[in-house]
């Protein structure tokens, strides 16, 4: 089931002199089983939006429908909030800063214990999750603090994956990683998506939008500016948003404007472009 966002607004510090409206009456749908990117300038409301998606903060007005759950301004009405958070999980920015247990496996198992799993079952599931993110057995009993940045991040992601959410939200999942480390994380995300999970990525990286996403949502000053396919976004007027059109897309657009018969909606990477040019030769 898709995620439906209806007239969602959020105001921080409401009824105080420091009142800030982070989200203004936004409505859109996030398609099920797809990868959706959420982009927008710093302070555009992206983080606020994702926190309302699993009921971490309650909307000031409006609602969010995710399968049987309806998140509204009154979170108390939502009886199964723990269930919702299991169903929709967030990997926050720099999740590795939240590692704290003595060993890698205990850290990953921590969330499951909160849901009432027995120690041994939790550890068993933790091992499965760790193998999914490509962390070798030899790390299981080591301290998470001995790992490299990229490995720590994979352990932190395993701690979320282990809860088996249907919707996985990642806030800047590649920030601070080198190109190789980023590639590993992005391939993991693709793998989770193939297994049927709905993925939401908050990012500033327009290459992730172009190469990896099926759908993109743009927020601008707390308002919905765009919801559609990446190629429709980049082919349109983005000058008023904080968006760098990827060089590949601008180049393909330039070719099209000069009468080269490329189909810009089907170009996600340089190999796609090369294949189309080969066909035209």
């Amino acid at each position: 089931m898709a995620i439906k966002i209806n007239h969602l607004s959020y105001v921080y510090l409401q009824k105080t002199p420091n009142e800030v409206q982070a989200l203004h009456d936004i409505s859109f749908e996030i398609p099920e089983g797809k990868i959706t990117s959420i982009v927008g300038h710093t302070g555009s409301g992206k983080s606020t939006l994702i926190q309302t998606l699993n009921g971490l903060i309650a909307p000031t007005s409006g609602s969010i429908e995710i399968s049987d759950f309806i998140v509204t301004s009154n979170l108390k009405k939502l009886k199964k909030i723990k269930e919702l958070r299991k169903h929709v999980s967030i990997v926050f920015q720099f999740p590795e800063y939240q590692l704290f247990e003595e060993t890698v496996e205990k850290d990953v198992a921590f969330g499951l214990r909160n849901y009432g799993y027995k120690d041994e079952d939790a550890i068993k599931k933790a091992h499965e999750a760790l193998s999914k993110v490509g962390i070798d057995k030899s790390f299981y009993k080591r301290s998470p603090f001995e790992l490299s940045g990229g490995e720590k991040r994979r352990v932190a992601i395993a701690g979320i994956i282990v809860l088996e959410p249907d919707v996985l939200i990642l806030d800047e999942p590649t920030a601070g990683l080198d190109p190789q480390g980023s590639e590993v994380i992005l391939n993991l995300i693709k793998e989770f998506n193939k297994q049927g999970k709905t993925i939401i990525i908050v990012t500033h990286d327009m290459n992730i939008v172009l190469n990896r996403s099926d759908h993109v949502v743009v927020l601008n000053e707390g308002k919905l500016a765009f919801s559609g396919t990446p190629s429709d976004l980049f082919a349109g007027d983005v000058s008023s948003y904080s968006i760098d059109i990827p060089a590949l897309f601008s180049f393909a657009l330039l070719l099209k404007e000069h009468g080269v018969g490329v189909d810009i909606s089907k170009i996600k990477n340089v190999d796609d472009l090369a294949a189309q040019l080969k066909g035209l030769k």
Binding site: F251, L254, V270
Partner: protein
């Protein structure tokens, strides 16, 4: 004139496994240098050593013709500023103006001059409207702009950017990069050492230093590195889009030898249709 000279520098966090192995380099005053390499290659450790934040026992670091030792440490630190990656780890003051002023407090500056400096630099990074705001009211990008103002307000000779734009949005990022460039125009002697994964930024700097497992593999002009297929593959580096496109077009049988920009490559394609 030399800005930074490093000779045979070796450093290890635990005394056993060296994170830097006999690193030597020499940077001229006013150079814009990018240091690239995978996480764990020793880039950030090198930056911390130049600032005198870590004790080292083997090798020498010379900054502004002064050898880095106990005696010169404070003099050198006054001339080297760093902006780290994570905006939350470097905000010291209670408000934006406090944070920028903090950096000036040991300099015996008259109060009026300090206030005007704080305002000048807050305005340069677009944070003038936020002077009295606490960090909890700021986004990560805004905090990072404050960190850059805090670094630059002391008028350093060397500015180290340790992946400091990696958490900013594209607007914030280009704003900061153009601010840094403007600072360089105002002060051509400002040496910039940028540790970055942003290959387009590295491509546009004066010099590029490639590090791998604690050693400097190569120091050259950016174009020289990106032309070198063997190195690119060996160190699994990302290449700027124009370089990548050129390679693909060559494989398709286009003659790309003297084509170096996207416009030239585009023209070649549409003229061949």
């Amino acid at each position: 004139m030399k800005s930074v000279e490093i000779k045979d520098l070796t450093y290890s966090y635990n005394g056993v496994d060296p994170i830097l192995k006999g690193v030597s380099l020499s940077l001229d005053k006013g150079e814009y240098v990018s240091i690239v390499g995978h996480n764990g290659s020793g880039k950030s450790t090198l930056a911390k050593l130049i600032l005198g934040l870590l004790p080292f026992s083997k090798g020498t670091i010379i900054v502004n013709d002064l050898e880095l030792n106990k005696k010169n440490l404070q003099t050198i630190r006054n001339k080297v500023a760093i902006v780290f990656q994570n905006p939350d780890n470097q905000f010291i003051g209670a408000t934006v103006e406090d944070d920028i002023a903090f950096s000036l407090e040991n300099m015996n500056m008259p109060r009026e001059e300090m206030i005007s400096k704080v305002k000048e630099y807050a305005s340069k990074v677009g944070m003038l409207d936020y002077l009295t705001k606490e960090p909890s009211y700021l986004s990560g990008g805004q905090k990072q702009r404050v960190a850059i103002a805090t670094a630059l307000v002391r008028n350093p000779d060397i500015l180290i950017l340790d992946e400091s734009t990696s958490m900013l949005d594209p607007n914030g990022k280009s704003e900061i990069l153009s601010l840094v460039r403007r600072m360089k125009i105002e002060n051509p002697n400002l040496t910039i050492i940028s540790i970055t994964h942003d290959i387009e930024e590295a491509y546009n700097s004066d010099k590029i230093i490639l590090m791998h497992k604690g050693e400097i593999v190569l120091t050259c002009k950016p174009i020289e590195l990106f032309k070198n297929r063997e190195l690119i593959n060996k160190y699994n580096l990302k290449v700027p889009f124009v370089v990548e496109l050129k390679k693909k077009l060559q494989e398709l049988g286009y003659n790309v030898t003297d084509k170096n920009t996207l416009e030239e490559l585009g023209e070649m394609i549409w003229q061949s249709k």
